[in-house]
């Protein structure tokens, strides 16, 4: 009996112990939770703040993507004395050539050497293809970043133009118009696939271009080529600003990308015209969204640590920065076709960097705004100090808005013949009148002054009541001082812009 009672007591004690263990375990978990919450809310938020003080651009864009941006602005094919200019269709030809050039450069025995300007010009005389970039490209840097490969033949090859003579299939020529240096890669390669490709293009029939000399015969040594006739489907369309000042949610989400977790403690100022400014600390970083939809971000370099980067590495940082702050499409997601318009050196806070200017194409033709560039980014080392963005998104394509706007396009030569006096007048207004007095001499002077002619779109300045702008297809005639935009369908002057002195 006594044993039974002792056994019962023991079982009770064990039960109490088990309950006690459960209670103590639950209490421990509860205390751990409280402690964790106490630490996370305070300490982690402080840790985030300290991270925010030194923002680092994350690479949102893979280096392989650089291949889409490091491409020529135009290509020029010379075959049997005829010239063909490639603008919107240059990418396809460039891709073929790039593959060929990389194969050639990595062959054993491929060497690079300096050559004279005469060698370049001599090679240009025959059948050849030339690619022109808007910026200086480091062949080795681009090759290493995009393809993770380095070829000895690409060492120190900085270029703005590449030329391949079909008559000299074992040489590729490079020219750098920033330094006036000519180089050549010579290789032992029997691959004629690229020559065959160009020949097949030629046989398919490309629209022929004529030099201004062929048109006018003024004894010009001009590199400007224009087509005799253009059958183009380009047409006017309407756009609106990608952002309007009353779209507060879109503006706030964009602003948040610049200021991160510290966004709640950023000064936000709304002006009476509804422009919004965000200021972080004492103006260390500012973001302005103007009532016209222009977005400008500025950052003071101060004592922030800067990592030295090559211009190709900087390009990748810039692409990533834009991707993270608005993206390579309009803020409402409408896709744009960006290209690099220029890369120029800048100096800020006693440090050297680069300004990257991006343009946008529509159906392969560049779009021009009178009020600045589409995307501009200034970068020092690995830090973006200035970002300006003004994107208009297409809302309506106007199919033949009037009888005059058909597929008929006025030839560039006719535009010059009908408007050379207008061009002369613009120079007079600029305070740099032509010296000639007779009509024939003025015509000759205008023709001699032309640097480039191409088809492009021009956004008109005046907005409709609904805030829509008209974008018209134009002949873009660039002279030494002024860029003229003539309506492609009517031939009338749309606008002209005085070029900025570099």
């Amino acid at each position: 009996m006594k044993n039974m009672s002792e056994k019962k007591n023991k079982i009770n004690i064990e039960r109490i112990k088990s309950t006690f263990i459960v209670v103590l375990s639950v209490t421990a978990i509860l205390l751990l939770f409280l402690l964790w919450r106490n630490i996370t809310v305070d300490k982690i938020s402080r840790a985030i703040e300290s991270i925010n003080e030194e923002p680092v651009i994350q690479l949102y864009i893979e280096p392989e993507k650089l291949v889409e941006y490091i491409e020529p602005y135009k290509g020029e094919i010379k075959m049997n004395g005829d010239t063909y200019i490639l603008y919107d269709n240059v990418t396809q030809v460039w891709d073929e050539f790039l593959a060929f050039m990389r194969n050639a450069a990595k062959t054993n025995g491929a060497t690079v050497s300096d050559v004279l300007a005469e060698d370049w010009h001599e090679a240009c005389l025959g059948n050849c293809i030339m690619f022109t970039f808007n910026f200086e490209v480091s062949a080795q840097d681009a090759n290493e970043m995009i393809y993770k490969e380095a070829y000895e033949a690409f060492d120190n090859v900085l270029l703005t133009n590449i030329m391949y003579s079909l008559d000299e299939p074992n040489n590729i020529y490079f020219f750098n118009n920033k330094t006036d240096i000519y180089r050549r890669i010579s290789f032992d390669n029997s691959d004629i696939s690229f020559i065959n490709y160009i020949t097949s293009l030629y046989e398919l029939g490309l629209p022929k271009y004529y030099s201004l000399e062929e048109f006018y015969g003024y004894g010009l040594d001009s590199n400007v080529f224009i087509p005799y006739a253009v059958s183009s489907n380009v047409q006017s369309y309407k756009v609106r600003e990608e952002i309007e000042v009353d779209e507060k949610e879109i503006i706030n989400s964009l602003a948040e990308t610049f200021f991160g977790e510290g966004f709640d403690f950023v000064r936000r100022i709304t002006e009476t015209d509804f422009s919004v400014s965000y200021i972080y600390q004492y103006g260390q970083k500012t973001l302005e969204v103007s009532h016209t939809g222009q977005i400008v971000y500025k950052e003071v370099l101060g004592n922030n640590r800067i990592e030295d980067l090559t211009s190709t590495q900087q390009l990748l940082e810039v692409l990533s920065f834009v991707e993270a702050h608005g993206g390579w499409q309009s803020l409402k997601g409408i896709v744009i076709q960006p290209y690099i318009k220029s890369i120029t050196p800048i100096e800020a806070e006693n440090q050297m960097g680069n300004r990257f200017v991006f343009g946008v194409r529509e159906d392969g033709h560049p779009i021009y705004y009178s009020n600045g560039e589409i995307i501009t980014v200034d970068i020092i080392g690995n830090r973006v100090i200035y970002y300006e963005r003004q994107i208009y998104e297409e809302i309506d394509s106007l199919q033949y808005i009037s009888n005059s706007e058909t597929s008929k396009v006025i030839a560039a030569s006719d535009i010059i013949n009908s408007n050379y006096k207008e061009i002369e007048k613009a120079y007079e207004e600029l305070g740099k009148p032509y010296e000639s007095t007779s009509e024939e001499e003025i015509h000759a002077e205008v023709v001699k002054d032309i640097k480039q002619i191409e088809i492009g779109y021009y956004k008109l300045d005046e907005a409709s009541e609904e805030g829509e702008y008209l974008v018209v297809p134009t002949w873009v005639i660039e002279t030494s001082e002024i860029i003229f935009f003539y309506n492609l369908k009517t031939g009338r002057l749309v606008d002209y812009v005085v070029k900025e002195v570099e």
Binding site: A28, L31, L35, D264, F265, R267, E271
Partner: protein, 244 residues
């Protein structure tokens, strides 16, 4: 295996763990959220060596505050002058504090110039001239919004001029952030003060401050005020030190 003994050991271990966790939690949760008297005294001594004398008690509290979204009222001085010229109510025959206040507030109310959060700060008299100064104290956190004021100047028994700079609190930001202690603000003040003459600090308090050094060609409608330590020194001069 002796289960009973194992359970006893486990209970002991859990008791020690819980005591440790509880101790940690208490020390974290109830740790001081301000500066100590010793810190304050050391700061005052340090400032004194730099010719800066603190005659006010230094607040020890560390605040946790959000930003304050405000509406900036742009009042035209010409409009106010016009209102003054139209004001016909006679000046009280007997000058008392209440009479002065009634007189001024009649004018302010008649012209919708008096605001809900305006509180009378002080009345100064200089012979037959009086100055009534209102400050802007928002109601939720009961903190002054600076620099925002209404000042009425009375001269020769009539309102001579009124200066109004008004910042209307709209809403607080959604997140709080700890502020710097007053002692740190005083040290920042010292580092920014570049005159050699002695400084007498008579007041230090936490306010919401709209930095007016930002200038824009366009007028501002909405802005953001930040917590700042307002340091009053040398005869009512004010210096604001941002408190984040």
């Amino acid at each position: 295996m002796n289960w009973s003994k194992s359970k006893t050991i486990l209970i002991m271990a859990l008791i020690f763990t819980n005591i440790f966790l509880l101790g940690s939690y208490i020390s974290l949760h109830f740790q001081t959220t301000g500066t100590s008297v010793a810190e304050d005294t050391a700061t005052v001594d340090f400032l004194r060596r730099s010719n800066i004398y603190v005659y006010d008690e230094i607040p020890t509290k560390i605040f946790s505050l959000p930003v304050l979204e405000v509406e900036v009222e742009n009042v035209s001085q010409d409009q106010i002058n016009e209102m003054i010229s139209q004001f016909r109510i006679p000046f009280p025959s007997e000058v008392t504090r209440d009479n002065l206040l009634n007189y001024v507030e009649l004018f302010l109310n008649e012209n919708n110039l008096l605001e809900e959060t305006a509180i009378l700060d002080k009345i100064t008299s200089l012979g037959s001239s009086y100055i009534l100064e209102y400050r802007n104290k928002e109601t939720e956190k009961e903190m002054f919004v600076e620099e925002s004021y209404i000042i009425c100047f009375i001269e020769n028994k009539k309102i001579k001029s009124v200066e109004k700079k008004w910042i209307k609190p709209i809403k607080y930001g959604s997140k709080n952030q700890s502020t710097i202690p007053a002692t740190t603000a005083l040290l920042k003040f010292m580092s920014e003060y570049d005159e050699t003459s002695a400084v007498s600090i008579t007041n230090i308090e936490m306010v919401y401050w709209l930095d007016s050094s930002y200038t824009s060609e366009k007028a501002t409608s909405f802005d953001t005020a930040f917590p700042a330590w307002e340091i009053t020194y040398n005869n009512e001069k004010k210096k604001y030190i941002l408190a984040y």
